[in-house]
């Protein structure tokens, strides 16, 4: 019993550590006072200010565009790549997977700087360079989600379909595709969240005047904290919560069988 309650207390303390900052942000976003401590009554003013702040709204739409577009393109390239890698021999697969891990393991700052050097040399920094950079670090997440599904998918079922007279493309559409679809979807969602969250790579690859929410908050924070930011945090937390709930408990959730 003592052990159980000690465990409970420990869980609670870590929980507090993780959620206290978020809760404080959310509460302050409704606080009718500029104070960080005193409660001045309930208000939605900061949300109104947030929505009428054209710089923040522009950063918001840029962020949504970048994350959606990069996730779509990365899902396309990544799924094709996974199909190709799956067809390779053991050694080819090992090389490809090793290469795929590089952007995952490399430091964000190095990834960002290296791409900035390339872009500045051959083109100009703008929104397209941010998009390319995001696609680049998103593809591995798609591959790592699709490939296991491909490995699990039954090769004999595909061969049986061919045996029954299906053309390869038809057999793929009817047999393989339904089996890897959950992996493709979770890869897409993961790519989108990664893109939403990114700061470092965007920071180095964006052109002047272009901002995602991350870089925007960074610049703003160096000047000081304004309460609109609390409202923005609350909204972003809600978005992340919904995305993650969908990923974990939605139709694409990986059902892990525990003995």
């Amino acid at each position: 019993m003592l052990r159980k309650s000690a465990q409970r207390i420990y869980l609670f303390l870590i929980f507090l550590f993780l959620y206290l900052p978020i809760v404080v942000l959310i509460v302050l976003s409704f606080n009718n006072s500029k104070s960080k401590v005193l409660w001045g009554g309930f208000t939605l003013d900061w949300y109104k200010k947030l929505f009428s702040n054209s710089a923040i709204m522009e950063a918001f739409s840029t962020t949504v565009f970048i994350s959606l577009a990069s996730a779509v393109i990365a899902t396309l390239l990544g799924t094709l790549a996974a199909l190709g890698i799956d067809a390779m021999k053991k050694r080819g697969q090992a090389v490809m997977l090793g290469a795929t891990n590089i952007p995952l393991l490399n430091a964000d700052i190095v990834t960002g700087i290296s791409m900035m050097l390339l872009f500045v040399r051959f083109t100009r920094l703008g929104i397209s360079t941010v998009l390319i950079a995001h696609i680049t670090f998103n593809i591995p997440y798609v591959i790592l989600n699709v490939l296991p599904k491909l490995k699990q998918s039954s090769r004999t079922a595909y061969e049986a379909a061919l045996d029954l007279g299906a053309a390869p493309l038809y057999a793929f559409r009817k047999i393989i595709w339904p089996q890897i679809l959950p992996g493709v979807l979770s890869g897409f969602l993961m790519a989108m969240t990664m893109s939403l969250d990114d700061f470092s790579v965007t920071y180095f690859t964006k052109g002047a005047g272009i901002n995602t929410l991350s870089t925007m908050i960074y610049t703003e924070m160096r000047k000081g904290i304004r309460p609109e930011m609390y409202a923005l945090s609350t909204l972003l937390f809600l978005i992340a919560l919904i995305l993650l709930l969908f990923m974990n408990f939605g139709p694409t959730a990986r059902k892990e069988a525990r003995p």
Binding site: Q7, L25, L80, G84, A107, S114, D197, R222, L244
Partner: protein, 273 residues
């Protein structure tokens, strides 16, 4: 033949990687080993020995190490507790502990800056209890605090995953053979979760070592990490050669720390998802 055709599907990805991963890294190497005029030089790389740079690197290593140790110390018991819970509630509880990881990185920093500021919540709480306020904003302590907050889930997740893969009958077998809790912990659980610990350490240490945003925003310009030195070289001094040279050194440290850890963990140690 058909197999070969299918392999070609990876073609666009291979081209993409060559263009946007390989080529950029080559660019860093090029700038790192040339002077402004384009002549070969070691100066950019060797400038890590300048006392400012060296101090930043040592501080980065130190803070990264402290952050990793704290994360490990907090996560391991947590993973054990999570793993011991009923399977039904486990998924949801783990979800709760992972969720903050998905909130925007910048906003997490914002939250801590607000909590730790002089007229912030923590100090006013201390004040109501008549305790002296703490003035840790703009110190390395604040940076470590926020880094632990940022990277803790990256440690929890792989350790928890490794732990949940241990079959319960392995533990029962050990008990059956006479092992008490301590022996089970050190001889069975720790070795079998080593792979998770290794990937957790890599996933916390590398971003902590290379971060520049946290120290910038919570260090108030007083905590200079190697990431800040590199960022300033590029964005303020426009000295790409120096920045690339220092980035090269940083890459070496990242690769070395991974190699060191991977040699201690087993093959499937990396990869969390």
């Amino acid at each position: 033949m058909r197999n070969l055709k299918r392999q070609l599907l990876a073609g666009p990805y291979i081209l993409w990687m060559a263009g946007f991963i390989l080529l950029p890294v080559l660019m860093i190497l090029y700038y790192a080993f040339t002077a402004t005029g384009g002549n070969f030089t070691f100066l950019n790389v060797s400038s890590i020995t300048f006392s400012v740079h060296l101090k930043a690197l040592v501080l980065s290593l130190k803070l990264g190490l402290i952050c990793t140790v704290i994360c490990l110390a907090l996560s391991y018991p947590l993973a054990m507790i999570l793993n011991s819970m009923k399977a039904k509630s486990q998924g949801f509880i783990v979800f709760i502990f992972i969720l903050p990881m998905w909130m925007n990185f910048m906003l997490r920093i914002l939250a801590w800056r607000m909590l730790l500021s002089n007229n912030g919540i923590i100090n006013s709480l201390l004040g109501t209890f008549g305790l002296p306020g703490i003035d840790i904003l703009n110190t390395p302590t604040a940076v470590v605090f926020c880094m632990v907050y940022d990277f803790l889930p990256f440690m929890i997740l792989p350790i928890y995953n490794a732990m949940s893969r241990i079959q319960p009958d392995i533990i029962e077998a050990a008990r059956d053979l006479g092992a008490g809790s301590l022996i089970i912990f050190f001889k069975i659980i720790v070795p079998l979760t080593m792979s998770g610990v290794v990937s957790g350490i890599i996933m916390v240490f590398v971003p902590a070592l290379t971060s520049f945003a946290v120290s910038d925003l919570l260090g108030g310009g007083k905590v200079l990490l190697i990431g800040n030195v590199i960022e300033q070289a590029f964005m303020q001094e426009y000295n790409w050669n120096l920045g690339s040279g220092l980035s090269f050194v940083l890459m070496i440290f990242v690769i070395a720390s991974m190699a060191l850890m991977n040699s201690r963990g087993d093959e499937n140690g990396t990869g969390v998802w």
